[in-house]
Amino acid sequence: MGNPMANLYKTHILRIDLTTRTITREPTFNYSEKFIGGRGINAKIMFDEIKPQIDPLGVENIIVFGAGPLTGTLCPGSSRVDVMSKSPVTGFLGDSNMGGNWPAELKYAGYDHVVIHGKADHPVYIAIENEKVEILDASHLWGADSYLTSQTIRRKQQDSDVKIVSIGKAGEKGVSYASLISNIGNAAGRNGMGAVLGSKNLKAIAVRGTRGVQVANPEEFFKLCTKLHSMVRSASGYDEYSKRGSLRSMTLNANSGYTPAGNHQTFGWGQKAEFLDWWKRFGVKRAGCFGCPVQCAETYTIPGIGSGVVSCQHYIEPTWKLKNNDVMLWWEFVWNCQLYGVDVISISGILAWVIELYEEGIISKEDTDGLVMRWGDRDSIIKMMEKIINREGIGDILAKGFKEAIKHFGRESEHYAMHVKNSPLYAASPRFPFVGLETALGPRGDYMRAFLPFAKGIIRVKGDSYMSMEEKEKLTKIYGEEAEKITGTRKALDIMGFEGKPKGIIYAETMISIPDMLGVCKHMGLVNFQAFNPDDFSKIYSAGLGKKVSPEDLITAAIRNRNVERAFEAREGLTRAKDTLPEREFNKEVGGAYGGVYLDQTEFEKAKDEYYALRGWDIQTGIPTEKTLVDLGLEDIAEDFKKRNLLPE
């Protein structure tokens, strides 16, 4: 065993050039000395191989799938893949993370990463079976929904265990926020990864692997997994999540009042959609990713519409953003998203915007092809959605995202456009600093890349009606202590304050980057179950790798990863000015539970200063300084920046 990376890593990065139809393999070892796993190596490949200012939907863009070193092992929640490409939504870094059983299968086939280059001249799909990699014709699959695609490919490959990610009609037609859908309903939704695949004429990637993942120290690894599994299973919230999944968080969010309703216009609007009842009536069974003890998703079969899997944002987005109480309509909506491959968060955001514009009289029936746009109305929502997916009439413009649509509707519509860097906002209001800062600083219009560990304290204490006063006090104390430990001040727990937030966000970014790099679900770590801390990650990673990797090493790797990502964005032209929020968040006009609550712009900018300074980035431009880059061992990036004159003074 001469190769030190034979454990955990599968030794190969698979490169597929669709233009020339060539398939090459490269040792993962080239990267894995300095960068860790899925998100870490992905970001570096992106920086190295994407020329600045290319068209995200052009031939030159690449899309990288990266499974982490722990992916496919017994480590709980470890079937994750990180997908990166230059985003057609933002024009910056597109990054989306997906679970399911595809990522583990990729490892079993013998690959850590798959990099897709070029563009096929006709629709194709890629079939990977261990060392056999083929580019096959997919003309017959073009236009097929995700279920039919999986079914057809499985039949063709004559193997029912083939795992598939595919795009639907939305991705084929280049709806900029189209998603990738796995055969069991997981999606890499954000940032338009589906559109990139569509632009390459690539319908699907089917994987089958039988080779397993080797670990250096099996006994030790097994022991650690036993411990981690029992930690996850005894964590608070595990029972709720594994029995009722995200239905519970649905209620929690609703009560906490930090979920905005409509086009981020208000908080609370008389949400009455009864999902628990729905689950009792139509629920089939629990579902989730391979190797995960939580199984946080629900499956439903609804007679007359169809069956599928939903979780988390599926519940919240269409309900709150579109103020919809009709559960049947909700199902039709999420089911369409799944079948045709479109990001449920983005399309809800776009539709909410159109409805508000219509209400405000900025656009009229003529602009919407004769559709009357109303909240929670089937005709408005489903018909407009179909127009977007098929790119008919006005749908063609809305499919291109906010930037193009604002050009079409006129300047006046811009005030209502709720996006960050063109990416529609997540249904969590950025007018709370802990959400807002990360939403502004992150690449995706959401805060799922830096969920504060003590944010749960903020949300729960405010809104969990299941909880008694004593419990709330106890939680405030626990989370207060945690906040103090991380940021040095208990005030960080204050929902509206900025104090301690930048430091907290940096901590959270690191803590989310670590599982993303290792290929573990971030919910296992600080986001939800708080089962893993860097120490646990370091132990299990070391036991698998056969080489000591300390928690500090992981933290440094995570910081390095954030800097590579930021460097990529900076080279694409991201500056401080773009790290901002829609102007509505700085205004008082919102009603509901938090009526009158808004972000103070000066304070907000000050917090950004603090964040950049802590990160070692230039305060004026938000670009990493030479010293920061060199200290992290990123001399090549510093060199590249010097050539391009990007380095801050």
């Binding site: 496919g72 092992t73 017994l74 059983n101 583990a104 079993y108 995700s146 279920y147 999986s150 029912s160 265990d161 055969n183 069991i184 309903g185 039988t210 080779r211 397993g212 993942v213 080797q214 670990v215 099996p218 690894f221 097994f222 997994c225 036993t226 599994h229 299973r233 594994s242 089939v284 069974k285 629990r286 579902a287 989730g288 990713c289 391979f290 190797g291 995960c292 003890p293 939580v294 199984q295 499956t299 079969t301 169809g306 069956s307 599928g308 899997v309 799944q338």
Partner: protein
């Protein structure tokens, strides 16, 4: 004392943790293909249906009956069935006759491999998060089933005639 792994079909979510635990424990690598306990999956319209299939530790094991070298033996007290690797000649007769497909052939040495209930402490059961796998004593196991049927029966009675039960 006869030990039995009971499979509660509706509870299985197909997560495959049993496969990973088994393969890591016995084969020292994470590979479902090398697990003695296999999850059979079937997807339909986006929903994954799954059944864990593992050795049933038969009372009259066909694998033992056909084994020409007596490599397959039944434990006297707890009745689990094991393969003695030293005696196994790799004739694969057991593989042919097992009605559940639970005898696997080690691709490296060509000999039979099967579940031995981890000598009474099965790892698949220990790790199964959904409760689809549980280790039971057959005489006790039925009590749970009878109970749950009883609960269902009462529920349906309540619906039929609320006054009867209240």
């Amino acid at each position: 004392m006869i030990l039995q792994i009971m499979i509660d079909l509706p509870k299985c979510t197909g997560c495959g943790i049993c496969e990973l635990a088994c393969s890591l424990y016995h084969e020292k690598e994470c590979n479902p293909e090398k697990s003695r306990c296999r999850v059979v999956r079937y997807e339909h319209e986006g929903i994954l249906y799954s059944i864990p299939i593992l050795c049933q530790q038969c009372e009259d094991p066909p694998c033992q009956m056909v084994c020409p070298t007596r490599a397959i033996q039944q434990n006297q007290t707890a009745h689990w069935v094991t393969v003695d690797g030293r005696r196994c000649i790799g004739c694969k007769q057991c593989f042919t006759v097992c009605p559940f497909g639970c005898i696997t052939i080690d691709p490296k040495i060509g000999k039979a491999v099967k579940c031995n209930l981890c000598e009474g402490d099965p790892k698949c059961v220990e790790f199964c998060p959904s409760g689809a796998l549980s280790i039971v004593l057959p005489d006790k196991a039925n009590i749970t089933k009878r109970r749950s049927f009883f609960d269902q029966y009462i529920e349906s009675l309540k619906k039929l005639a609320p006054s009867v039960t209240e």
